[in-house]
Symmetry: C2
Subunit: 208 residues, 2 copies
């Protein structure tokens, strides 16, 4: 009850800022000099912290890089989903969010391509990228949950749809990168997302 009034704790905010600074430095240095040539000491120095502090924020070098690479482009999806008209169903909301994110894709294209190539250049980094995807899955699931009208207790659908969304993004990105980064990535993601038809009518009754 003295200096800080509105804030939700000064420590937490500083911590988040430091974390973002580390991730940004990690991704930038890895992009400039390559992953192998970027040491934790370099990243820590660039972020203005000590080496020990680095590991208090990230479990590994690769996780910091992966976080820095994707903070720019992906975790925002959950926020966009929340901002989309409330009368859209879960899947439609995701599609609308991707459409919204794709609007100024051309500006971001070079950055996206560089990040996609980098995260696929090392299997360690790719593994950590996949680990991050699980976090986003959870975030997406939480964001679309209110849009299910008939949600039972412990309903698997939000999580499954979150996983499906991230899978669509990842596989579409694979195709996009294989094509040299030309082509419309957001549209590719939408194509992937809506490619499979899992209507109950297609299930053969009696199979197990």
């Amino acid at each position: 009850m003295s200096v800080q009034e509105i804030e939700p704790g000064r420590r937490e905010r500083k911590r988040a800022e430091t974390q973002a600074r580390i991730a940004e430095a990690a991704a930038r240095l890895a992009g400039e000099h390559g992953i192998a040539a970027t040491t934790v000491d370099d990243i820590a120095a660039a972020a203005g912290i000590g080496r020990a502090t680095f590991f208090r924020h990230f479990d590994s070098k690769e996780l910091a890089i992966a976080t820095g690479l994707s903070d720019v482009g992906a975790h925002v999806l959950a926020d966009v989903i929340r901002a989309v008209p409330a009368d859209l169903g879960p899947l439609d909301a995701i599609r609308a969010a991707y459409a919204h994110l794709g609007e100024n894709f051309d500006e971001l294209r070079p950055m996206f391509l560089e990040q996609a190539l980098l995260s696929r250049s090392s299997s360690v980094l790719f593994a950590w990228t996949l680990h991050l995807y699980v976090d986003w899955e959870t975030a997406i699931a939480a964001a679309i949950e209110p849009r299910f009208g008939d949600l039972a207790e412990a309903d698997p659908r939000p999580r499954m749809l979150g996983a499906l969304t991230m899978a669509a993004a990842r596989l579409a990105c694979d195709v996009w990168v294989a094509g040299g980064g030309h082509g419309d990535l957001p549209a590719l993601i939408q194509t992937h997302l809506t490619s499979i038809d899992l209507a109950p009518a297609h299930l053969t009754p009696g199979v197990s």
Copy 2:
């Protein structure tokens, strides 16, 4: 054209055997003493090879452990899918394969639970487990591909369905582990797999 006649190369077979021996030793030692307490030297010694040879077979300690953990239970899915009646559609084939694998699940339950807990006990190991899942995705996609009647060039459906299958397995396993490993894991996977209804009719026309 002297001693080896039928074999597909002696080198390749030995290499596969060594790899399996390493993975088995890695998973066993990690299960007995924990991941942190298991060094690459230990694993190499237990597998009867030198330290340098270990890294010629696996990119990391965690990948070897993850491979050893899951070789027992999951990569076989693709083979089972191929063995299932040819007139079943892609999704039905996957469901039938899970049903088949679930038949003697009770015997394997303790092993599955131990492995699931272990792979979730360390975020590094979990990241590498996710990395393996991508390989399985690909294997599953290849196995169900012939079951799509109308497959276009570079059709995303097999890969998407592969990803969906692995997501269902992973998320169901999360729920299963959270419930203490009681409950019917194969049935949980099936529930997850068929939970989301992605019929085209549900897509609102005009949403971007």
